[in-house]
């Protein structure tokens, strides 16, 4: 799960995944959709492959890429990121509240070394 989310954290890789979602494409075809260099696209494809989000089919010298249907579904990907984002917000909010609770308690918390 984490490998997939890390791979998806890069906007170009999300765009690549979208391109190969419904249609198999060659690396060259994919590269034409982006302004980045061909090696950079290859690197993105490798990351997607390692995260098991795309499959590769060799055909002579060409490699065809396609989104892996049993990979992380979009729904799960965005729900996972929703919860991660939410929990990050929860952490910020709860820690802010805890600091003010401890500050209100004053002396007793300072005695524990945590104002």
């Amino acid at each position: 799960m984490d490998a997939a989310l890390r791979a998806l954290a890069e906007p170009t890789r999300r765009q690549i995944l979208r391109l190969v979602r419904d249609r198999e494409r060659t690396a060259g075809d994919i590269a034409e959709h982006f302004d980045v260099t061909r090696p950079a696209v290859s690197q993105h494809l490798r990351a997607l492959q390692e995260a098991q989000l795309v499959t590769v089919r060799r055909d002579g010298t060409r490699r065809w890429y396609r989104a892996r249907p049993e990979g992380l579904s979009e729904m799960q990907a965005w729900l996972a990121s929703m919860w991660r984002g939410n929990l990050a917000d929860l952490k910020r909010a709860a820690e802010r509240e805890e600091r003010s609770v401890r500050a209100r308690r004053g002396g007793t918390m300072r005695a524990k070394g945590r104002a």
Partner: protein
């Protein structure tokens, strides 16, 4: 794999963290833009997550400072309706901190989730922001694909 399992360590007591699961005002600080909740078993909740996507369901189990379980689904989404999945949160003290583990189970199958695409992109942007500790700011994927 139709479940998600996410954890976070929070430098706050379990009693502080617990309030964020039952108090609608505090729920808005991390779950959505508007929330309404009746935090008791069988009580319902409604959270407007994005300003357009409303999640709702009911509380299944509430153990103060330890555990909260509620059902989850999206209003107006027949593939993933309210009550169709379950979110289970456990709070475990770790020194002065609390480890929050969230498991979302019973997720619907499949790539039929095209309708979630906007949400997907929105939340992936948030994930990136969360991962880097910065503000989400502009969605990096606003330009249409060519």
């Amino acid at each position: 794999m139709n479940e998600l399992d996410v954890s976070v360590r929070i430098d706050a007591s379990a009693s502080t963290v617990f309030r964020f699961f039952t108090d609608p005002v505090r729920m808005c600080e991390w779950m959505g833009v508007a929330a309404d909740a009746d935090p008791r078993p069988g009580g319902t909740y409604r959270v407007d997550v994005t300003g357009r996507d409303v999640a709702s369901g009911s509380y299944v189990e509430i153990v103060p400072h330890e555990r909260v379980v509620w059902t989850w689904g999206w209003e107006g989404n027949p593939d993933f309706p309210p009550g169709s999945s379950t979110v289970e949160v456990t709070l475990e003290a770790d020194g002065d901190a609390t480890v929050v583990r969230l498991r979302h189970t019973g997720l619907p199958d499949g790539p039929s989730a095209a309708r979630h695409r906007e949400g997907w992109e929105h939340y992936l942007a948030r994930l990136v922001a969360a991962g880097t500790g910065s503000d989400a700011g502009r969605d990096p994927w606003v330009q249409p694909s060519r």
